[in-house]
């Protein structure tokens, strides 16, 4: 079709959204339903790039509306006569919905349920019949919006979600292949063009989108729906593989000076086998059967060559090999899972899930702070609406404050000024049409043309996925202000009142951004940094736990919480680091902040390695001989982490480097003496290997800390800490 080559995706998406809104209005007006703009809301908020994604979001909106309607009717029935009990009940329900929005690809269900309660309860007033009718109308209009854009998306330039999802998986597997090759490059002597940093960033971005794409593809395609468990297992495996590849890359630093070809003679063969495995995975994703299954196993060290290594070189090699084994295991699982999805497997595969503990995520302080921000915004709006006389349009004021506060919970780093511009555009456009154009229109055909043009303009201007929230907000204000109805009336006060309400809403949001918890990027960045190092300090202290004396329940609880902080903090720091304003950066650059965050991510991986290795059985000979030195090392780490949690700027690269070198030298001698004095039969055990890996993990953490100190030197801490208006 020539149209597909002429029109860009940007124009097509804008045309489809504009058509869907005109269609939704046409049906709602012909059926004489009230609040016809609610159908347009459904279109404005749910349209995404593919049919399945849009349908999925629409279904979430519909089910969220049903839950919100039920809650609104129940609250009105229970507390119609008591304002405060009603507000408390509503706050508990909406607060729960806000809290549940975090960490799920189905966040939209909770968002709609939460924002529907004040909307429906306040729009209907205290008349129970009116309330019920409002709830029914809202549900009808939402379903109408969903049907309208589904029809348009299916008939005009349809884009399959299944294809989009499978294409994303293919690209991710290809990126993983390149990343693996990057790690093997220095060891097997091959060269690759792509930059590792860019690749890693792309991998992270692609991975973040997969969950939402799969949700859409499940709605769009029965094949995907049937294999949904396997697909979810695949996404889980890919995420584990990204983390394992990164740990593997980190462990490369300590073996870089070693002759790996001599120490691991089968490494080139393994590298070729791993690459071939990725090729076969890609082949299966294309729909072709694999030529052969995964064959090579991770290389074993050559005993003769390994004897010539120093103790710490040996430890580093064991850590490197352990990471290699993990990558091998995960790529095998990946191969099996895709073979199962494409029905190339001989036996059914049941991917094993390592269920993530719910507690750390449930008690994440940043998540709770986000709920506090939403709470402050909503109650400030309530108090202004109740006690400040003559505030116009109180329903819109409260509903908008609540909706935007909930949206900010999901994207807390978005500056409020960034949300203001699209809303101002929607207001200006809607106000101009309402005052100047609509009074001259006499038929739906002419109204449809105006609607189409206005919606097209907004969708065309805000076309990027990152601008989706702004686009939805602008469209919502536009249709709200136009207030299209069968018996159209015009009142300048509608525009003037909304002009007063919008700055009030933004004032409320601005206050909630600073009280009770500050969400200024520099404050959140420093808060997260402190929490990260406090977690490191506590986790370092748990290394002394004796396997013979199990820790108390409280200690285990704290450990789980800190492990959660350790895993989450670097990702959040990356987001907030990119949101830091120029005034907070001072002399440092965004690149330097990114490098600092990368060094923290490496430290987090090294800490996790250390904790996992500490849990394995250890050689009693080495434990006895090295106890005091390792304890001194652990205590030194604890002290450094404790100090950094208060003063991250105190990280001194030269001091850390010299401390680490001195410690490694001392231990090197002690290990040699211990090995020389011990019975040779007792030191060739698996426990002995674990002990060397533990030493390697200790060194890995220390090296990561030294690297953090190097990166911290480039940050303008004084400007980052400086108080600003």
């Amino acid at each position: 079709m020539p149209a597909q080559t002429v029109l860009s995706d940007r124009v097509k998406a804008a045309v489809k959204t504009a058509l869907a809104i005109v269609l939704a209005y046409g049906v709602a007006l012909s059926m004489d339903w009230g609040h016809s703009y609610w159908a347009a809301f459904a279109v404005a908020f749910c349209t995404l790039s593919t049919v399945g994604e849009s349908l999925n979001k629409g279904l979430l909106r519909l089910s969220g509306t049903l839950l919100g309607s039920l809650a609104a009717v129940t609250l009105i029935a229970l507390f119609a006569q008591d304002r405060w009990l009603f507000l408390i009940g509503m706050t508990i329900f909406t607060g729960f919905c806000t809290y549940m929005m975090s960490g799920t690809s189905r966040w939209y269900f909770w968002q709609v349920a939460g924002l529907s309660v004040p909307l429906l309860a306040l729009s209907g007033g205290t008349d129970s019949v009116n309330d019920f009718e409002t709830v029914v109308t809202r549900t009808e209009e939402t379903a109408l919006g969903l049907a309208s854009y589904s029809l348009v998306w299916l008939l005009i330039w349809p884009t399959s979600s299944r294809e989009a999802f499978e294409d994303a998986v293919r690209r991710l597997v290809a990126a993983q292949r390149q990343l693996t090759a990057q790690v093997l490059t220095p060891t097997v002597g091959e060269t690759h063009d792509a930059g590792p940093e860019t690749l890693r960033r792309q991998t992270m971005q692609m991975q973040a989108r997969l969950g939402g794409l799969l949700d859409g593809a499940e709605v769009d395609s029965y094949d995907v729906w049937e294999a949904r468990r396997a697909w979810r297992g695949l996404i889980h495996r890919l995420s584990q593989l990204t983390s394992a590849s990164e740990r593997w890359r980190q462990s490369l630093a300590e073996v870089r000076e070693l002759d790996l070809r001599r120490l691991l003679p089968e490494l080139p063969e393994f590298a070729a086998g791993l690459d071939h495995r990725f090729v076969q995975i890609g082949r299966m994703l294309e729909g072709h059967p694999p030529e052969r299954g995964p064959t090579p196993v991770p290389p074993s060290p050559d005993d003769g060559a390994i004897a010539s290594l120093s103790q710490f070189q040996r430890a580093a090699l064991l850590v490197y090999r352990a990471n290699l084994q993990e990558v091998d295991r995960l790529t095998r699982d990946l191969f099996d899972t895709i073979a199962d999805i494409r029905s190339f497997a001989r036996a059914k595969v049941y991917p094993a899930y390592d269920a993530a503990p719910l507690l750390p995520s449930a008690l994440d302080p940043e998540r709770l702070a986000g709920v506090a921000r939403w709470f402050a915004g909503l109650w400030l709006a309530w108090i202004i609406a109740l006690y400040v006389p003559d505030v116009p349009n109180t329903v819109e004021f409260i509903v908008l404050s609540n909706s935007l506060s909930m949206a900010l919970f999901l994207l807390p780093q978005v500056p409020i000024a960034g949300m203001f511009l699209p809303i101002a555009l929607g207001f200006a456009l809607g106000g101009a049409i309402y005052v100047l154009v609509m009074p001259h229109l006499a038929s739906f055909a002419s109204l449809g043309v105006v609607l189409f043009a206005a919606v097209f303009l907004i969708c065309y201007l805000y076309h990027r996925p990152t601008q989706a929230a702004g686009k939805a907000a602008a469209l919502a204000v536009l249709v709200m202000l136009m207030g299209v109805a069968n018996e159209q009336s015009y009142n300048f006060l509608n525009v003037a009142n909304l002009a007063v309400v919008l700055p009030l809403v933004f004032a409320v949001l601005a206050v909630a951004t600073h009280f009770p918890v500050s969400f200024r990027p520099e404050h959140v960045f420093l808060r997260l940094l402190g929490r990260f190092f406090r977690a490191c300090a506590y986790l370092a202290s748990t290394l002394q736990w004796d396997p013979a004396n199990p820790p108390t329940r409280w200690q285990r609880f704290r450990r789980v919480l800190h492990l959660g902080d350790l895993a989450r903090a670097p990702g959040k720091l990356a987001i907030w680091g990119s949101a830091l304003p120029a005034a907070a950066l001072g002399q440092s650059t965004t690149g330097q902040v990114q490098a600092l965050v990368d060094s923290l991510q490496a430290l987090a991986y090294r800490m996790q390695d250390l904790i996992e290795t500490r849990a394995t059985p250890q050689s009693q000979v080495l434990v006895r001989e090295l106890l005091s030195e390792v304890r001194a090392w652990r205590v030194a780490l604890q002290d450094i982490f404790g100090n950094l949690s208060q003063h991250p700027e105190a990280a001194d690269f030269a001091d850390f480097r010299s401390q680490l070198d001195a410690m490694v030298e001392r231990l090197e001698k002690q290990i040699e003496e211990a090995v020389a004095g011990a019975d040779q039969a007792s030191i060739s055990t698996r426990e002995n290997e674990n002990s060397f890996r533990l030493l390697g993990a200790f060194r890995g953490v220390s090296e990561a800390l030294v690297n953090f100190a190097r990166q911290a030197g480039g940050i303008d801490w004084a400007r980052l800490r400086e108080a600003r208006f």
């Binding site: 300048f492 003037a496 007063v500 206050v511 600073h514 009280f515 500050s518 005034a583 400086e722 108080a723 600003r724 208006f725």
Partner: protein
């Protein structure tokens, strides 16, 4: 002194003087905040966002008394 309340009349719409004073107060406070940031004086305040709100209130009060009294 000004016991008879009066309103601003713009394009056939009446506005209370307080609205204009509050808007001007907000603008003046934000300009002051930017200037204090620019010359790095803001670091001497314990909680700058609170100071900004206080400045907005002070400016609004001053404008209500001296610039556009109600």
């Amino acid at each position: 002194m000004h016991l008879i309340p009066h309103e601003l009349y713009i394009g056939e719409v009446f506005f209370p003087p307080m609205l204009l004073n509050a808007a001007l107060g907000l603008v003046a406070a934000s300009i002051t905040g930017r200037l204090l940031n620019r010359f790095r004086v803001s670091r001497y305040f314990y909680h700058p966002p609170l100071v900004l709100i206080a400045l907005a209130v002070i400016y609004t009060g001053l404008f209500s008394i001296f610039l556009i009294p109600a």
